[in-house]
Symmetry: C2
Subunit: 321 residues, 2 copies
């Protein structure tokens, strides 16, 4: 039984490894080699916390386990701890014995950033030059940092409901040597790639803010009622997702499906594009949209990778269990 504490993850894990792990597990999901279990998510009635489990099994990678944890909204103010707290537990699929326990906080940020990056690699135009960010919080910096590695971007444009937070992403752009400009939402028409990463319950990005040929990654909607983009945008776009069942119930596609603008069959797995069984983008005018809902298998995949790295570097704590 190996333990990789949260404090070791930053030195061990790289964006490249997270990208490869997420790309591979999306492919395994689409080929039927990997599946997610039903998600448990409970408002426990203590500290206003949301707590639950996201589990899954990847037969190809032989990765079995769960991420447990959730959202403790008072952590930062009361205790100086981050509000999102999670831990990944891996099990040996041959025996059912626990094999590893891995800090899941930074990994969650990295795997979420990797998901939009994988979508950009496979769905954005090769000549994409301008990337637009809707949202400028903590996670937005992760998304942008990873996205900038996928194309030769020349400019980052950003919009946030609270404009005073835009320096968060401006810094990421500048660190990568890319110009940054704040825009109004209709200024997003300049973008070739747009990532939205907010926790909004009403759309910010409207269909007419998005130019033909753009790839949009909606990364913030993971709950019934949340919404980042106008439902009409999904009707205009080719829609892809990590997991169709989540996309149409708790993801961005929930609204377009509920309004009858698209059907479940209009939502394709990004993994199928990775596997080559779905053509993905077929024209330079097409709008592609990735609905990233977040699945347990992503967490297991990055945790399994970090265990390998920790073993290689002699950092994993071994416990007889």
């Amino acid at each position: 039984m190996l333990i990789i504490p949260e404090c070791e993850i930053a030195d061990l894990m790289t964006r490249e490894v997270a990208f490869d792990a997420v790309e591979k597990v999306f492919a395994a999901m689409a080929s039927g080699d990997a599946y997610n279990f039903p998600v448990v998510r409970e408002a426990i009635g203590h500290e206003d916390a949301l707590y639950g489990f996201k589990g899954g099994f990847d037969r190809a990678g032989l990765t079995l386990g769960l991420k447990a944890g959730g959202y403790w909204p008072n952590n930062l103010e009361k205790r100086g701890l981050i509000n999102h707290q999670s831990t990944v537990f891996l099990f040996d699929p041959d025996t059912g014995k626990p094999s590893a326990m891995v800090g899941g906080n930074l990994l969650t940020a990295l795997r979420t950033a990797a998901a939009s990056s994988v979508s950009i690699k496979h769905l954005a135009r090769k000549d994409a030059k301008v990337i637009g960010m809707i949202g400028a919080g903590h996670q937005a910096a992760f998304q942008l940092r990873a996205a900038l590695e996928q194309r030769v971007f020349e400019k980052v444009i950003g919009w946030n409901y609270h404009p005073e937070m835009l320096p968060n992403i401006e810094k990421v752009a500048n660190d990568a040597g890319v110009a940054f400009g704040a825009v109004e939402l209709n200024g997003m028409a300049e973008a070739d790639v747009i990532i939205s990463i907010t926790s909004a319950f009403a759309p910010s990005l409207m269909a007419d803010h998005v130019a033909p040929g753009t790839h949009v990654a909606c990364m913030g909607t993971d709950t019934k009622g949340k919404q980042e983009v106008e439902a009409a945008l999904l009707a205009k776009a080719s829609v892809f997702t990590d997991e169709v069942a989540q996309s149409i119930t708790i993801g961005e596609a929930q609204h377009a499906v509920a309004q009858g603008l698209i059907a479940e069959s209009d939502v394709a797995q990004l993994g199928a594009v990775i596997n080559g069984t779905n053509p993905g983008r077929i024209s330079d005018d097409q709008i592609t949209l990735f609905d990233g809902t977040g699945v347990g298998l992503q967490d297991l995949a990055v945790a399994a990778s970090v265990v390998d790295l920790a073993v290689q570097k002699g950092i994993a704590i071994k416990v007889d269990f």
Copy 2:
């Protein structure tokens, strides 16, 4: 973050501590202070394994977490490991950080035995003298050992589909200084308390095998389709359970409810008897029946107790996480 490996549990945990933990959490469930989360249970398509999570939160005991694991049917033959493998993970309900990881194999046996014992304490006649066992496998020994401490039993009678296994429970009886006799099923009419602990899919114990005044604890049925006792017995009995929702869907009561012999409202929580809000047994002629389905909160309760014991004895492994 504390770790209590499986190998330490036998020396740390006692039947008394398990009993107290289970009695207390049944009471907390009935008073609304504790609740179980939806159960995840998956046939993962590898090694014929069943794997899943049973979680819950006890606001009174401030115990939050889950048991993860399942059933690996090839473990013993292929690897010399036991087939049931589980691990309990506890979390700090104030912060969402993991607080303990505890081996769950022996604990599962002890908490299941504690459940029928708690039912005997609160529902069997005080003058019960004869205890009957249906089933004589590994778990039956745990059930009997714990049950013998609840009344001054003078005799154990036993029946098993494979009679050659009866020495398993005869030994437990003899170790406690109590006489043992093998019986046919109709011989169970002599018993004042009956525990059934099998994995049968058809009833063994029929309604006319059970004398007035008997307390029956059905401990084996935890899945749709399993059945240990005739549905008509539940119609004759006052029925109690750990969790009503499980009792009527995957527990022994599923059949009597499906056949319209009893209604959901006929099934009471054992915790309500512990709390004094349900009178429990009200006559010496009444048949009482406990439908023990097994809930995650039992696992969390015994794990939390073992953590306390391990800390007291300096055995818990501390890991900075």
